[in-house]
Amino acid sequence: GDLTCLITKNNTNPFFVKMKEGAEAAATAAGMDFQAYAGVTDGDAAPQINAIENCVAAGAKGILITPSNDSVGPALIDARTAGVLVIALDTPLADKNAQDMTFATDNFEAGLLIGQWAAATLGADAANAKIGMLDINKDNISVDVARDTGFLVGFGIDVPNLNVMGSETDPRVIGHETSYASVEGGVTAMENLLAREPDINVVYTINEPAAEGAYQALQNAGKTGVLVVSVDGGCPGIASVKDGVIGATSQQYPLLMASKGVEAIAKFAADGTKPSASDGLTFFNTGVNLVTDAPVDGVPSIDSDRGTELCWG
């Protein structure tokens, strides 16, 4: 059948691996051929550009891509010129001409939800909270920035520049540490934060593996009652919410992104119709839900059981 390509940021983050599995299943169901590619490092455009070119060379009908960097724009424009449908997943491209549509969660929104939840859970204590931030790294990768600043804004902290991390001057933020979005990085980063300020009581983490690591470090240090919040909503992450390791997480739907994307390409291949955006948005919103077993007023959430039904792997 027609060929669909999926290009993810890397091969190691379970988020992208699940996305790939979802897309492959959807493609098989739609009777399409499927080819997956991945970059090497988040932020490195060069391997993704190669992948885009290879997809076009292989005669793909459509490309699903989680762009590492806006630098892939020109290559995508070339692909579109060659008649390929381009759908950005999870992360939109700055250049409007580089994509036909974005199927994404609003990462800022995801951060905002956990920020609001943490602030509401602490109540009055939020005014003198001590917050540790575990980011991917210092490279200001767009997803990293959106979740980080979203959380801070949701918590009620003034963020002067929403395009970079660490622009806030609020003393409640103890520091931003690099976790590489991995468990191991999370442990070390949390230990370093605790060495700086042992009384941290709110920990934002870029994703659930980092949260798992942070929890491990907190346990080793004998700290209890620290709020750990995260983003992603993978099945292991939801299980951690159930176990009380993570207080709340914003659940995303990579499988939905992938399967909707594949459907859109199948449709385009069949009759040339392009997908359209959700109402009132510039992208097709695949939605985000706050998952917590300790809901608070004013912040809509689902519990971990429902989260487990919806989780992606």
């Binding site: 691996v17 790294n137 991995s182 191991e184 442990v187 370093n192």
Partner: protein, 357 residues
């Protein structure tokens, strides 16, 4: 012109019996303090990294307020445990004038195999650990065979197997981690090395103890067994070692397999350290282990170096990282400092070696 055989030597050698029978001895420097110090340093090169470590601990104690507390010092030890264990494996390889870029991949893959066997397949932890150590040794053995039998340079071999092992890891794990909660439930002993002993504020994990024990064991093997002498001789001059009757191939393969085994063990220690098992993480352990070995004074040209130096090297890097981050220094400058640390430590080492010659 028949000549008398078995003469007592050419005629010009007759005077030799009266010759000076002592070896040439040159004027010696006076035994000044300087001279004595140099002698000590020459005989115990590990003193150099030890001094650098003490010096940097003191420096950070002054710069970073909380640094000089038992908690932070034990944190440093905790954070360098895995790097230290891998650095021991790397030291073995570098002593044979090789280099191993695949240590990280072996470690993570062994750890993943251990976790999946115990958690997903419910195999008793003892067997899961044994199998994973065996697989680690097997991967090292593959490196060793490629180096000795196929005769490829170690850099190339491990560059190749790095990709191969990483590919196997991604395929085998499906990029899924094994959650700490699952491990604690199914096979808590996999996390054994994460537990700790407390002495006042000082916390020593079992992993830290294992590092020390392993360092002593390998030190013993290198310095008190014939095998250790052979490893040094091979790194020093492989042809000479071969002609001296050492079984080069067998010894080299054993070194690579042992290094693989140690990396497998590092995977177990890492599970305890992190509390869960994930296919990502420890991405910089290859370079970190080489850095530790090099800062510890082991020569990349083989034959000279020490296990203790490598462990100290790992600690020096750990002190720098933790110290700088406590001092509130940005990530970049930590990286900047780490780069300079490597350069300065090795330059200092070379300079001291030249000066004490």
């Amino acid at each position: 012109m028949e000549q008398e055989p078995k003469q007592a030597g050419s005629e010009f050698e007759v005077g030799l019996d009266a010759a000076d029978k002592s070896v040439a001895s040159f004027a010696r420097d006076d035994r000044s303090i300087d001279h004595i110090l140099r002698g000590i340093l020459r005989r115990n090169p590990t003193i150099i990294p030890a001094m650098v470590l003490v010096f940097s601990v003191i420096c950070f104690g002054i710069i970073a307020p909380n640094f000089m507390s038992p908690g932070v010092l034990s944190l440093v030890l905790k954070q360098v445990t895995v790097t230290g264990v891998v650095a021991i494996a790397q030291t073995l390889i570098i002593l044979t004038a090789g280099i191993d870029l695949s240590v990280g991949a072996i470690m993570v893959l062994s750890s993943m195999i251990m976790g999946r066997l115990a958690v997903d397949f419910g195999i008793p932890p003892f067997f899961a650990v044994t199998i994973s150590l065996f697989v680690g040794a097997l991967m090292g053995w593959v490196n060793g065979v490629l180096v000795t039998i196929v005769k490829l340079p170690p850099f190339i071999v491990t560059l190749g197997t790095l990709s191969v092992f990483t590919a196997l890891l991604l395929w085998y794990s499906g990029s899924q981690s094994i959650r700490g909660a699952d491990i604690r439930e199914m096979a808590p002993s996999l996390l054994f090395f994460g537990h700790s002993l407390r002495f006042g504020g000082f916390v020593l994990t079992y992993g830290g103890l294992a590092l020390i024990g392993l360092a002593i064991l390998i030190w013993y093997l290198l310095n008190h067994t014939a095998w250790g002498r052979h490893v040094h001789a091979i790194g020093d001059d492989p042809d000479a070692a071969m002609l001296s009757g050492i079984k080069i191939n067998r010894t080299l393969i054993s070194v690579y397999a042992l290094a693989g085994l140690i990396c497998g063990f590092a995977g177990w220690v890492a599970a305890g350290r992190v509390g869960s098992i994930s296919p990502i993480g420890f991405t910089d352990i290859n370079l970190a282990s080489i850095t530790a070995v090099v800062i510890g004074g082991t020569s990349l040209f083989g034959g000279r170096g020490s296990i203790l130096g490598s462990v100290l090297g790992a600690m020096i890097v750990g002190v720098f990282n933790t110290g700088l981050s406590l001092a509130g220094v940005d990530d970049y400058w930590q990286m900047f400092a780490a780069g300079n640390l490597v350069l300065i430590a090795v330059a200092l080492d070379q300079w001291l070696r030249r000066a004490t010659k």
